[in-house]
């Protein structure tokens, strides 16, 4: 474990040069039970060709954020505030027609479960060709050639034959490969992968993750990689955003966040996870309690009901004031920088052995 000697001068992904920039995004759903604040004031940037990991548990708002970027929410029940700028183009205010031109073309998405995410009614080939024909105006023949080429690239054996197969005739891993091929058909600049390997077996997951990394090298796409698995993100991402209750609680490069985490929630995640080389006699340290309801999120810092360090913060700051997340390498927590460092070194680091 590297010790904390480095000062906080890591270059932050900043506004203008970044390829995708999300500013103060708020997404709310109106439901019968009330208003769900699925995303509550989220800002982040993605650089061209880089991978941003977004990590969080169910209900943290990570998937909602990305459906919002693509504009795939139901406009009737959803209110969206804030700014999403993709390569100079504002997406929150964009029309449906404008978004349709971008989706599958400039930005593409890979979903979690390829069995349900591919239509059972059409051949894999048709589902791959469709967006290519729409976005590039290619002929059916050209689209087919491109699709076969992509299927081959992602490692589908006999792509010419498999082009005419239906998704249910593929195995789980092959389906996810086809899904990746589909996302890459139009050579997108931004690829959003929402838990792309969660439904897969571990050996297949390893193949798919490496494939995504290698393909990124070749295609140069920026990737937003959403997962709940810190191990996966550690291997995939350049930068990392930790989300909790619809907010970003910590941001930085993957190494910074995972090796010298500064937010109690990130500490909790890391110390509740057993490791392959960890001490078998050390007990895991879970985060007490349960994730908050987004209908009625806790006041102040949303993590305060589960946080073990609120008593180190003076007054009732944690329960009353929402801690801001600064620019660059930052964590949204009222603890002072020294406190964070001391607690991490004294209490958290020993647990991670």
């Amino acid at each position: 474990m590297t010790t904390l000697t480095k000062t906080e001068d890591a270059p932050a992904p900043t506004g203008p040069e970044s390829f995708l920039s999300v500013r103060d995004l708020r997404v709310q759903f109106s439901t019968e039970d009330g208003i769900v604040k699925a995303v509550d004031g989220l800002s982040f940037d993605v650089e061209r060709g880089k991978t941003l990991g977004i990590v969080g548990e169910s209900g943290s708002g990570k998937s909602v954020t990305n459906l919002t970027i693509l504009g795939l929410h139901n406009p009737r029940s959803t209110t969206i505030d804030g700014e999403i700028v993709l390569d100079g183009k504002e997406l929150v205010t964009a029309t449906e027609k404008e978004l349709e031109k971008l989706r599958g073309n400039k930005m593409a998405m890979i979903f979690q479960d390829p069995l349900t995410a591919l239509s059972p009614y059409y051949t894999v080939g048709r589902q791959l060709s469709e967006p290519y024909m729409k976005h590039t105006g290619a002929s059916k023949k050209e689209a087919k050639d491109r699709a076969i080429q992509m299927l081959e690239k992602v490692g589908i054996p006999q792509p010419k034959v498999r082009f005419d197969d239906y998704p249910h005739q593929f195995s789980g891993g092959m389906r996810q490969r086809a899904m990746i091929a589909m996302a890459l058909m139009c050579d997108p600049d931004l690829l959003i992968a929402d838990e792309p390997t969660t439904a897969l077996d571990v050996t297949v997951q390893a193949q798919i993750l490496d494939l995504l990394k290698d393909l990124q090298q070749e295609f140069g796409s920026a990737i937003i990689f959403i997962t709940h698995d810190l191990g996966v993100i550690s291997n995939m991402a350049d930068d990392l955003l930790v989300m909790y209750a619809g907010r970003a609680v910590e941001r930085g490069s993957v190494k910074e966040v995972l090796r010298t985490p500064k937010h109690p929630y990130t500490w909790g995640l890391l110390s509740s996870m057993p490791r392959l080389d960890g001490d078998i006699h050390a007990e895991l340290t879970p985060i007490p309690g349960t994730p908050p309801s987004l209908l009625n999120p806790p006041s102040g810092c949303p993590f305060h009901p589960r946080c073990a360090f609120t008593d180190k913060v003076s007054g009732s700051l944690c329960t009353n004031v929402r801690p801001p997340l600064g620019e660059g390498r930052a964590s949204a927590c009222h603890l002072t920088a020294e406190q964070k460092q001391t607690i991490f070194i004294d209490e958290i680091q020993p647990r991670l052995r």
Binding site: S234, L258, L270
Partner: protein, 372 residues
């Protein structure tokens, strides 16, 4: 390699050296497939479990790992006799329960309990928590001292729930709390063996640890033996003293925790371990080996001949297709560490000089990138 094995296939040792509680020999479960024309008949079988040998000692925790379709869950259901074995033998506390009838099983049923993966569907939504936990006692006619209700409250307290919540319904609890209810129900009959089938995989990361800790506490304090079935290798390692690795219905390697995780011999164990994504805590940790298999697990309807892993194995030779490797202690293994492989790997997980990459797409992409 396989001729310098030193021990015969069967071993009674449970690793901890304690008394054997559960012994499984040649356990097999084939699910028939019907089809054909004009009259439907049996046309094949899903060979879900095909000759599994396993022992669990008193108070011991044995992990069962493997990927989907390897038969680990079916094995769990066979052991608890929720499924009828096709063949093989299950011995519990010296008693053969392989084909025991309901009545013969009655005294054993209470001693073997099960915890399920899905805390949402394994609890009856129309019953209160109290009723759910109490019903195993009622069914088995057990009257604990001080009454059943008192026992239920004690159990709720033990699993970290508020005993006041006796009259609440499952939907009023979160996923992690529901799994605690499942644990309390399993404990109601003072079992000696708990078969836990993926008990934490449906839970969020922060909640997983709560349940793992609870199970560990239960195991330590009550001395209950566990058959812990999971696909998460890190969780299994944390929880189990001994681990069996399954692939396509067979145990390919079994041994104490250290042997399996640090000195694995079977190529599949190597591949499995190397595939686990781990948080890189620093740059100094030894590089782990990188093995990337090709394709998915073959269908258990037509498993490969000989060694079932041979179709995805980088060391496979002709012998692997013709001869099924026995599960034995090959030379260099510690006692109780058995491996079913003709051409075992070196007992280390350190990085190799050259990565094993079998996936054709990865190979092609990485070759192209090396050129640049």
């Amino acid at each position: 390699m396989s001729d310098n094995l030193t021990l015969p296939a069967q071993q009674a040792a449970t690793g901890t050296g304690s008394e054997t509680l559960l012994e499984v020999k040649g356990l097999t479960k084939h699910f028939p497939i019907y089809g054909g024309f004009p009259i439907k008949r049996k046309v094949g079988a899903v060979q879900a479990v095909d000759g599994v040998d396993l022992t669990v000692g008193v108070g011991e925790s044995v992990g069962l790992v493997g990927e989907s379709g390897c038969g680990k869950s079916t094995t769990g259901r066979l052991v608890t006799r929720l499924l009828e074995p096709t063949s093989g033998q299950i011995t519990y506390a010296g008693r053969d329960i392989t084909h025991a009838s309901r009545r013969q099983l009655a005294p054993v049923r209470s001693e073997i309990q099960m915890i399920f993966q899905d805390p949402y569907s394994s609890l009856n939504p129309r019953q209160t928590v109290g009723t759910i936990i109490k019903s195993p006692m009622e069914v088995n006619g057990i009257n604990p001292e001080g009454g059943r209700e008192k026992k239920v409250r004690e159990l709720l307290e033990l699993v970290g729930l508020n005993p006041e919540h006796y009259n609440r319904f499952p939907h009023e609890f979160s996923g992690g709390q529901r799994q605690r209810i499942g644990v309390a129900r399993a404990l109601a009959l003072n079992p000696k063996l708990i078969v836990a089938d993926e008990p934490v995989s449906a839970l969020d990361v922060s909640i997983q640890a709560q349940v793992v800790n609870l199970l560990q506490k239960v195991q330590d304090e009550l001395g209950i033996a566990f058959l812990f079935i999971a696909h998460d290798l890190a969780v299994v390692r944390h929880f189990s003293q001994r681990v069996a690795v399954m692939y396509l219905g067979k145990v390919v390697e079994v041994g104490d925790r250290d042997s399996i995780y640090n000195r694995p011999r079977h190529p599949y164990t190597h591949a499995l371990l190397s595939a686990v994504p781990e948080v890189a805590m620093d740059d100094e940790t030894e590089e782990r080996e990188r093995i990337r298999l090709s394709g998915d697990v073959p269908s258990p309807i037509h498993p490969p001949s000989g060694c079932r892993f041979r179709t995805r194995c980088w060391k496979a030779q002709d012998k692997c297709a013709t001869e099924e490797p026995p599960l034995v202690q090959i030379s260099g293994n510690r006692d109780g560490h058995l491996t079913a492989c003709h051409f075992p790997e070196e007992p280390t997980t350190e990085a190799r000089d050259e990565d094993v990459v079998l996936d054709p797409a990865l190979k092609a992409l990485e070759k192209a990138q090396d050129k640049h």
